[in-house]
């Protein structure tokens, strides 16, 4: 899970661990890159606005390029924070992720989505 919001990571971790998953955390895209070099998870959950406004977008493309079979779910407040007039949606070239969620996402809903993606 890659997000600079300590509390969001905490609450997702608690719920996901309770549902039997293991959670490793990174609080920036840079930290996530180091963690991914050390070993691959089954799925990546990532934020967008971290050390830069678009750090998560860049990370998502990088992950897709280097590990095409590693799915990613994006959680972001970018629609509300920037008021962009269109929606970011998963897109093979531009935004290669499985799902885009607007924050806040109930951790249980996130867990459902993770299980749906990994189960399929």
């Amino acid at each position: 899970m890659v997000d600079d919001d300590v509390d969001l990571v905490e609450m997702c971790r608690a719920v996901l661990e309770h549902r039997g998953h293991e959670v490793a955390s990174a609080y920036s895209a840079a930290e996530a890159r180091r963690a991914l070099e050390a070993g691959l998870p089954d799925i990546v959950i990532l934020d967008v606005m971290m050390e830069s406004e678009t750090a998560g977008f860049e990370l998502a493309r990088e992950i897709h390029r280097n590990h095409p079979n590693l799915p990613a779910i994006m959680l972001s407040g970018i629609h509300a924070a920037t008021g962009v007039p269109y929606r970011f949606e998963p897109d093979e070239d531009w935004l290669p992720i499985a799902t885009f969620f607007d924050k806040p996402v109930p951790p249980a809903r996130l867990a459902d989505e993770i299980e749906a993606i990994l189960g399929s």
Partner: protein, 405 residues
């Protein structure tokens, strides 16, 4: 040079030519504007023709004859007054053959800015047009200023809303999990979540308190009670209230001051300065670090320094530190909460006291903040006024008391 477009609507060819001749070469300087105002004149014979021209490209000033064939001047006036945004973009001067009060009043009531009674001399024409031009330019400047102010305010409110939403989102998230027992049976997990919720709520409260301080200082509505304040005593007070937090992390705070440093100031404002600097020095320190506070007199004022042995920051980070809602976000500050307003409040206060706040810092070594206070703010805080807006009111002929000023 600003060239204002004047449209003259009159069925007498002599009148149209006369006005054009008088205004074409006329220029005047506006005191607030760097440069001159000139006029470009266009003419129309009838009301219908004028309305067509206005629809194509509205003039800045409309010189409108009252007595036109077919459509009257008042009908044209009524039409242009109903156009969206007409008032601020175009001013109408009614030309009337009967210098009767009734005609003038009905024209002004329908949105005319002024009137000119026939026959008039070129000087009377210039003087009336000049008054309208000044009013128009000042109104445009005032509108531009108001727009800029609205923009700044809008940005501030957007950021504020975002900053207030963040802790609420965290608190709500935790409470949902606790309510639904979504994280298993271990009570310790829930205790931790409740603890985090309380911490986020506390910082939200602090942010609101800071915001109120900032608003009071900026609006000038805060009543300032000036008295002789010993800044060493205020420093000790700030150190005392930070002692528990510092003790938990084995951070030593030392005050280096000799004799009392007394200056005329508002005690509450001095407390805000010391409290922000000392609590930051602890918050951004390393465990086992130290904080050194110095206070010394200088002239009628004082110089305060607060140095820490904390995480420090880069030059680029230090540059934007005193702006509102700026919080340095990196791996080292991830777990440190704050309102993002404290230092911008310190800066505003330092400026009010004729001084400033500066910082020197090195990443991993520490930061040193220096606050210089020259003297107590002069006079009672007053509401910032818009001199141009007031002058505009005075320039309008229908403004109450406008003519006397």
């Amino acid at each position: 040079m600003d060239t204002l477009k004047v449209l003259v609507v009159d069925d007498e060819p002599g009148m149209r030519r006369g006005v054009a001749r008088a205004l074409d070469s006329y220029r005047f300087a506006l005191p607030d504007l760097n440069g001159e105002v000139a006029f470009g004149v266009e003419t129309a014979e009838t009301g219908e023709e004028a309305i067509g021209m206005i629809a194509q490209a509205p003039p800045d000033i409309l010189l409108l004859d009252h007595k036109l064939p077919e459509m009257s001047g008042l009908d044209v006036l009524e039409h242009v007054s109903s156009l969206p945004g007409a008032g601020a973009s175009m001013l109408t001067i009614m030309i009337t053959a009967y210098a009767s009060l009734e005609t003038a009043v009905s024209a002004i009531k329908r949105g005319a800015y002024d009137f000119l009674a026939k026959p008039f001399t070129p000087e009377e024409l210039k003087s009336t047009v000049r008054k309208a031009a000044q009013s128009l330019i000042l109104a445009r400047q005032a509108r531009k200023l108001a727009q800029e102010k609205r923009q700044v305010r809008f940005q501030f409110i957007s950021v504020l809303a975002h900053e207030l939403k963040a802790p609420l989102t965290a608190i709500e998230g935790y409470l949902h999990i606790v309510r639904d027992r979504a994280a298993g049976d271990d009570q310790a997990t829930y205790d931790h979540m409740l603890e985090r919720s309380l911490i986020r709520a506390e910082y939200m409260r602090k942010m609101i308190a800071d915001l109120l301080d900032l608003t009071r200082i900026e609006s000038g509505t805060k009543r300032r009670e000036l008295c002789a304040v010993d800044l060493c005593e205020t420093a000790r007070w700030a150190i005392d209230i930070t002692a528990v937090e510092a003790g938990k992390r084995r951070i030593r705070i030392e005050l280096h001051a000799g004799a009392p440093v007394v200056m005329e100031a508002d005690r509450g404002e001095m407390e805000i300065i010391f409290n922000n600097l000392v609590s930051n020095a602890v918050k951004y320190n390393r465990d086992g670090g130290r904080v050194d506070v110095t206070v010394r007199a200088e002239g009628d004022g004082a110089v305060i320094t607060v140095a820490d042995t904390g995480i420090g920051m880069t030059e680029e980070e230090a540059d934007r530190l005193f702006a509102e809602f700026v919080r340095i976000r990196n791996e080292k500050t991830r777990n440190i909460l704050g309102s993002g307003l404290g230092l911008s409040i310190v800066k505003k206060l330092a400026l009010l006291y004729g001084g400033d706040v500066t910082v020197t810092s090195a990443p991993g070594v520490g930061s040193k903040f220096t606050v210089e206070l020259a003297r107590a703010p002069q006079g009672e805080p007053t509401q910032p006024q818009e001199p141009r807006l007031r002058r505009l009111e005075a320039a309008r002929p229908d403004a109450p008391g406008g003519k006397e000023q």
